[in-house]
Symmetry: C4
Subunit: 204 residues, 4 copies
């Protein structure tokens, strides 16, 4: 009941706020799946309009996986962390700003799946998040924010996994400039890959 | 305060995230109730436009019941569960992706209540969720994730109830192809039926 | 850690889910304040368009107060309650369905403040919520769900306050049919009145 | 498990509800970044349309920072507070109403960054929030709601910091009437300034 006097934020409120943004952003994705505004006079017209939304449906599933993975990684990371300081809160806000941007990028990708600009924008959003994650992780390592019983080897493995994630996202982003559909497919492959646990993630 | 070292996720954050998506998806349903974009010049015009939204209002109430029931079932199920592993988290994400899709399917059903494509899409969304629920339940049973004091008979009864739910949703989905309005009515009947507690649900 | 074996729901998850819907519904209200779709070429045009939104702004503030009061009442009520059974959960879902409907009614009222249909629809939403609240309260009283140390006098006072609230909302709804603007004003007066604590509310 | 009998609200539910509105409002900001409704036929057209959204992207980042800072300040303030009474709940609701309004003001500012009306509306939203914060803080001080171990000097410093914040926001709002783009820039500078911890904030 007494207030904490250190410089750290209460970790549970930090996590609850982050979870809230993850949960809201993931649910908002559906707003990117919209029927073109028209009155469909027949069942056939409506069915065709719905079927034409298949790229939006794939983009919806993709981003659901992406944000779901980010939420899991956030959870896996912060259960190892003991202290949340101002800089962590700031970098986390940057990460959340990238996450909350994903619904817009998803909607654009689902509507224009064959255009470079859409696939590139999607890559920018994911690379932005991956960059924020890596900066936050670097700060956590540098400020020795981890619990004492977390082994240096486990931390090093997590750092490697996050760097690898960054490279793949930036790679897929650059790929978008020359082959947007291949880039879209790469996002899906990377997401499926990350659904398989590795390193610290596996301990979640 | 010390980090867990097992492979399980913290159950309370798992539940909080799921609750967030359920609560957010259920609140987003209202975005499917929209007045056609027009300036209504007289009270009579506005009143008629509002009255013509009655299928949207029924679809809203139906999906509110459906997601409300799913939230209750989720709660009833996981209070019996002791451990949440990666596979459970993954199957739960699939379930949540289906849940977050319901507002779109609801909006389509409310706008085109007499068309096969709309009633079928709604059935696809519910069947998808029911499938994810059954897969998750099978995994929980296979991985012995339940508390030790939950009786095998209670688990078997839950499994039967979930399978029965799956059959009714898939049945209503197929019915949509031949009789969309009857299918719509079937969704309402099934939802009302599930509002009555049975098996493990009754213990909630 | 061990599962509860009674028929009650975990009260804290019940409250968290309800709080989630209240918080989301109250934040979604802003989606009812929209500029008519047009490109405003000059500052003067934009300023006039924004100023013309004043009924939307009042409706926004009104509904923010209404949902805020409902959240406070929900909180004040359930802190006195010991057990949450299935019927309470069901009636609470009905209440939340009414609450999540308020953003649509608010948007309609703000856009057509002088039309009977809009003021009546708003009254229907509030009366629906007030009815659900009264049914839920009656059930809580009948099932002796209150903590043992809550006095019968306090309960009786709350019941009276809730009935009085129901009468005022239904009255304002009926008033909408003859004098929509007076009804709109009445909603504001009632909301302001309820911001002043009384009875059990005052103990919150 | 026993109900509290004082006049205070449960602080954790108060915080959870506020966090919900903050997290939801911050995620809703992305709805203000929308492509003009059109079918873009070529990649070049889409890329240009996305690039033209840069003021919306800046406004999005700005408001993400603003709401993020408000959430941090809310957290930093209430960890020092022992009691939450009805008046605090009311003033907090006023604050949240201002916060939930920010997505609309952000969308307007991002779409019309060079118009006085848009920059002024944005300033109105921020000044409204700053006023609510100052009134709430004054009430907390007057009602001696702080924990006993919070020093008067720390409280006085927080009061000064909040007053200074109010002055800057009102100043930027008035500046909007003569130089909207300078005012927009001022909002960004103030937000960046507040990202640097000071006074009680630094203890968060």
């Amino acid at each position: 009941m007494c207030p904490k006097t250190g410089r750290e934020m209460n970790k549970s409120r930090f996590e609850a706020f982050s979870d809230g943004v993850f949960a809201f952003a993931i649910t908002l994705l559906i707003l990117g799946v919209v029927l073109p505004e028209a009155r469909y006079a027949t069942n056939r017209e409506l069915a065709l309009a719905l079927l034409r939304l298949w790229p939006n449906a794939i983009a919806y599933g993709l981003s659901f996986a992406v944000i779901g993975i980010m939420w899991q990684n956030h959870h896996a990371l912060f259960r190892l962390v003991e202290r949340v300081d101002r800089r962590t809160v700031f970098l986390n806000l940057v990460l959340l700003a990238g996450t909350a941007f994903i619904p817009f990028a998803t909607s654009t990708l689902g509507t224009y799946p064959t255009m470079q600009a859409a696939a590139f924008l999607y890559g920018v959003a994911l690379s932005f998040c991956a960059t924020a994650y890596n900066l936050m992780l670097s700060h956590l390592v540098a400020s020795r924010a981890f619990h004492a019983n977390v082994s240096p080897a486990a931390i090093a493995q997590t750092v490697r996994a996050y760097r690898f994630g960054w490279v793949t996202y930036v790679g897929a982003m650059l790929l978008a400039l020359v082959a947007p559909v291949v880039s879209f497919a790469a996002y899906v492959v990377v997401a499926l890959y990350y659904l398989i646990p590795r390193g610290l993630d596996a301990d979640m």
